[in-house]
């Protein structure tokens, strides 16, 4: 087992290196760089360009060097914790990201937990009571949830919350708290605003998860070992929890690989519509303006989280499922 873990960690290194090269190449693909875009923009607006500063930045960040040297410089800094400099925000990337990270995580965690808490009981109910009235109602609601565009739901909820509760539109807190130090009333304001994005982001995942859990569980419920358990005289609830549910959650553990990165960047579209101060919108802007170090850092973090998430989910699967733990690698 230890060998396996070490093996896996070692294989992560070449994977991440390959990803970093791809990311860097793609960011470099459009002609020009951030500084040129900015010069053009400023000149178009008739403003004076501080050529000295531009030249200084170009030197400082090696934009005049050939791409492969730029890449090496970037990745070497990355390993040492220097993520580079955001041209647009005129701050080191670490500071730019750090500010938003907390709020991103709060929204993401809350909506993930919301998804699980809602989806699991409903999914189990609709599998156990297949083709009952309840199952049909839940399925219809689920399909509507799947089919409704998130941003539309977001707009409806924002409007309703404003009309009924007087919540201010957009953002994660009332405008007067933005940029203020943390206080209890600021936390209260965040909580007041938080539920809308949580519900909006959560419902999209919920509907899908209900369907998947229902399908998985239905598969398991018809298996022979469930009949065996019934033949032992176990009560239906205990059978359900101990046997089929245990096997039906495997795919959800395997999902961890995709959940971790989505925690990081969040639902971009919804964040834009609702004006949330999270990572998603910032990443999009960074890509648009060729703010290469900021965009690169975001993408690398996401890639790292995918790799880490897949690794963790493999370990958890091995812990939960002895077939994976003990049968691994045997081939017929």
């Amino acid at each position: 087992m230890l060998n396996y873990i070490i093996n896996r960690i070692l294989t992560m290194i070449p994977t991440l290196l390959a990803i970093s090269i791809i990311i860097f190449t793609i960011i470099q693909l459009p002609p020009g760089d951030f500084l040129e875009t900015q010069i053009a923009e400023m000149q178009a607006q008739g403003e004076n360009v501080d050529l000295e500063k531009i030249e200084y930045l170009r030197k400082e960040y090696g934009l005049d060097q050939p791409p492969y040297l730029q890449y090496l410089g970037w990745i070497a800094g990355f390993v040492q914790g220097d993520l580079g400099y955001s041209f647009e925000h005129e701050l080191p990337v670490t500071e730019v990201i750090g500010d938003r990270m907390l709020l991103t995580l709060v929204v993401a965690f809350a909506s993930t937990i919301f998804t699980y808490v809602v989806a699991f009981p409903i999914g189990i109910y609709s599998a156990v009571k297949q083709y009952s009235v309840g199952d049909y109602i839940v399925s219809v609601v689920g399909f509507i949830g799947l089919a409704t565009p998130n941003f539309m739901l977001a707009l409806i909820l924002l409007y309703s919350a404003n009309v009924w509760f007087g919540t201010s539109i957009g953002g994660l807190m009332d405008p007067q708290y933005v940029g203020e130090p943390w206080s209890w009333s600021k936390v209260g304001s965040v909580l007041e605003h938080l539920w809308i994005p949580v519900v909006v982001i959560g419902t999209s995942g919920t509907a899908g998860m209900i369907r998947r859990l229902r399908a998985n569980l239905l598969d398991e419920l018809s298996k022979q070992y469930v009949v065996t358990a019934r033949a032992k005289g176990l009560s239906p609830i205990r059978i359900l929890i101990k046997y089929p549910l245990r096997l039906a959650i495997n795919p959800f553990i395997a999902d961890l690989g995709s959940i971790l990165p989505s925690l990081f960047s969040g639902a971009v579209l919804v964040s834009f519509v609702m004006g949330l101060e999270t990572n998603g919108p910032m990443l999009v802007k960074a890509l648009q303006s060729q703010d290469m170090f900021l965009a690169g850092s975001f993408l690398m973090f996401e890639a790292g989280l995918v790799v880490l998430g897949v690794f963790l989910s493999d370990l958890m699967l091995a812990a939960v499922d002895p077939r994976i733990r003990l049968g691994g690698g045997a081939s017929k």
Binding site: Y4, V227, R230, A231, G233, L234, P236, L326
Partner: protein, 666 residues
């Protein structure tokens, strides 16, 4: 009521969209205390539904629409005995749950799926005990340990913490039986408990159930379609057909004077060892192709053309194949991975126009061998030669590209599972016509004609050409498989357990069809099966395999009259026959050790010192033994050695298990 269980006029119906369907139509029978009752019938006869009704484990669409199931429950609250009508209880109510698993328990057919893969064996057995008997975890563990010892686990303590997928099929079925018996129920319902197992293991499980019955004083309701098992196990027999009881009574009466035509037909459809040469099985529904069928006509010419029996069609020499048991890690060398021998130095030939039976238990390498012949797997060593009718030799293993593609027409394969071997999204026409299409017959109408003729050959109506596989029964699907295999007019057909998934009556039908086709089309078969009676019926010569080795090869009469190899003998002894005068000797099973090559007696054993070769005993009889022996091996068996050979082998086993000086068991 003296009986343990009495079923009175039981009716079970299924709610279907087109109305209710009665699957069990007024069934009445009894199960006496301490006796075994066998419930016999084809699939679809309603025998499993009856057992589900007793356990109240009916599928969701089914319900008991009438009748009573009276059960004498000895484990009632307060220890008193009470007669309960199981049909009147709530299916998942407290009272039914306490009977289920406590007083009545069940052993299922499929040991591979009836245990949860993610819980340990100990956990799953303990659970049954903890629900029904008031014991602490400590005590429960001890009782389970005793039960595991009782059902014959070699290392019960270790078994408690193993997972089902780490056990072989036979051991899993033992675990399922232990689970059923751990509460010492008064009735055990066994639904085809040995159908999925090899004969040697089947015999052990039957013995185990008999012993435990004696020890625990319980009754058994045995559901099976295998009349051999019935003859060996049952005290009373109930025969079901289409949801009704055809006949019931004492096992003696049933076998000696079968009254009902259905039972007679069922008995006539089972292959027996004492059949006359040339005697045919009598299936309940016989297949008759049209005599003017174009395929039969063209092929008949061909079969007359080369009727020389002796020439070989396939010659296999020193074939060896190993599998890696574990993938090497990223930094490990491929060669370091441990390997297991699947096929070990096998040589034999198949003669044109014969049927060669290949027998052995699961995992003995017979399927691997057939896949190598088909070029689906590549062997590590050895050669395979194919001979054309005119005597031209072709090296099968060295072909590739177009040559191999063309050659594939000569050899076809027929699969075991009639359900998963047909694509459910293709019509029968497409399925049977696919090989033709692949091999270049683009014209749709031409294909259609051939498919129609092929369907007629296997006894299916060409009118059903546009149906999908799901609308056919298992036997019909297997015939579709035969038609598909015949589409390219092959010379050699490899049949991998073609009837093991079928009922006896359908089995007889398919076996007769294969026999007729062999004659009519001049085919050669390699027929793989674990069922000796079936192989005996269809094959001309029989090859016995064990642990990747070919241990004996002989014409069938020779093999059955005079088996030489200890494994062949053990195999022959373990087959239950539907004949009360020829019961299994259950004390002579050697706990399945006959299939461990290291434990075979002297000239046969695998010990790394002697080289084993196939020794010619004359009359086409070969046996694998140490080099240097000759036809004297035959005598070895005909003399006194042979009579008490079981005991001798046991002695041998004991000797080898002890730490003998200078002796090492591999």
């Amino acid at each position: 009521m003296d009986d343990l269980l009495r079923i009175e006029d039981l009716r079970v119906s299924f709610r279907l969209p087109e109305g209710d369907l009665q699957a069990v139509k007024g069934v009445s029978f009894r199960i006496p205390e301490g006796k075994t009752v066998a419930l016999v019938g084809e699939s679809g006869s309603g025998k499993t539904v009856v057992s589900q009704a007793i356990m109240r484990l009916l599928p969701r669409a089914a319900y008991i629409s009438g009748g009573r199931i009276l059960f004498r429950d000895r484990h009632c609250a307060g220890g008193e005995t009470k007669i309960v009508d199981l049909a009147s209880l709530a299916a998942d109510g407290r009272e039914m749950r306490s009977i289920r698993g406590g007083s009545i328990s069940m052993v299922f057919q499929e040991p591979m799926t009836s245990l949860s893969p993610v819980h340990t064996v100990g956990d799953q057995i303990c659970e049954a005990l903890m629900i029904h008997r008031n014991v602490s975890g400590e005590e429960a563990r001890k009782i389970v340990l005793d039960m595991l010892t009782l059902v014959g686990f070699p290392d019960p303590l270790k078994t408690l913490d193993t997972y089902p997928f780490e056990l072989s099929g036979g051991l899993r079925q033992r675990a399922v039986i232990a689970m059923g018996l751990v509460c010492r129920p008064s009735l055990l319902i066994a639904d085809e408990p040995t159908t999925a197992l090899d004969v040697t293991i089947q015999a052990q499980i039957l013995k185990l159930m008999k012993d435990l019955q004696k020890e625990l004083g319980m009754s058994i309701l045995m559901i099976t379609h295998d009349l051999g098992v019935v003859a060996n196990m049952a005290d009373e027999v109930v025969v079901m057909y289409h949801g009704e009881i055809m006949e019931s009574g004492d096992v003696q009466d049933i076998f000696q004077n079968p009254g009902h035509p259905y039972l007679k037909a069922l008995l006539a459809a089972v292959p027996r060892f004492d059949m006359e040469p040339g005697e045919r099985l009598v299936p309940i529904r016989e297949i008759k192709p049209d005599g003017n069928n174009p395929i039969l006509r063209t092929k008949r010419d061909r079969s007359v053309h080369h009727s020389a029996q002796t020439s070989a069609i396939l010659e296999i020499k020193n074939l060896t194949k190993t599998y890696k048991t574990r993938k090497g890690g990223m930094f490990k060398k491929e060669e370091d991975a441990p390997r297991v021998l699947a096929v070990d130095d096998i040589s034999f030939e198949v003669r044109r126009g014969e049927c060669l039976g290949l027998v052995g238990e699961s995992g003995c390498g017979k399927t691997t061998l057939s896949k190598i012949i088909m070029r689906a797997l590549t062997p590590d060593n050895g050669s395979i030669k194919f001979y054309e009718p005119d005597g031209t030799e072709r090296d099968v293993l060295s072909m590739d590209g177009d040559e191999l593609f063309g050659f594939r027409e000569r050899m076809q394969f027929m699969f075991q599972d009639p359900f998963s071997s047909l694509n459910p999204r293709m019509t029968v026409q497409d399925l049977i016509g696919e090989p033709l299409l692949i091999h270049g017959m683009k014209d749709r109408t031409e294909r259609r004609e051939i498919v129609a003729a092929l369907m007629d050959v296997v006894g299916l109506s060409p009118l059903h050409m546009n149906r999908y596989p799901h609308s056919f029964s298992g036997g019909q699907r297997q015939r579709i498989g035969i038609a598909r295999a015949l589409a390219l007019q092959p010379d050699l057909l490899i049949c991998d357990e073609p009837v093991s998934a079928l009922d006896v009556s359908v089995q007889a039908q398919v076996l007769n069809l294969l026999t007729d086709l062999k004659e009519a089309l001049g085919l050669t078969y390699i027929f793989i099966s674990h069922n000796l009676a079936v192989v005996d019926y269809i094959a001309d010569r029989i090859a016995v395999m064990c642990r990747g080795r070919l241990v004996e090869l002989a014409p069938k009469a020779q093999l059955f009259r005079n088996p030489v190899h200890p494994y062949t003998r053990a195999l022959l002894r373990a087959v239950p026959e539907p004949d009360l005068h020829n019961l299994l000797n259950l004390n002579d099973l050697m706990e399945g050790k006959a299939s461990i090559p290291e434990l075979w007696p002297a000239p046969f054993t695998v010990d790394g010192e002697h080289r084993a070769v196939m020794i010619d005993l004359g009359e086409g009889h070969y046996v694998r033994a140490h080099e240097g022996h000759g036809p004297d091996l035959m005598e070895y068996c005909e003399t006194g050695d042979c009579v008490d050979e079981g005991a001798a082998l046991k002695q041998e086993i004991e000797n080898r298990q002890g730490p003998g000086p200078g002796e090492s068991v591999r």
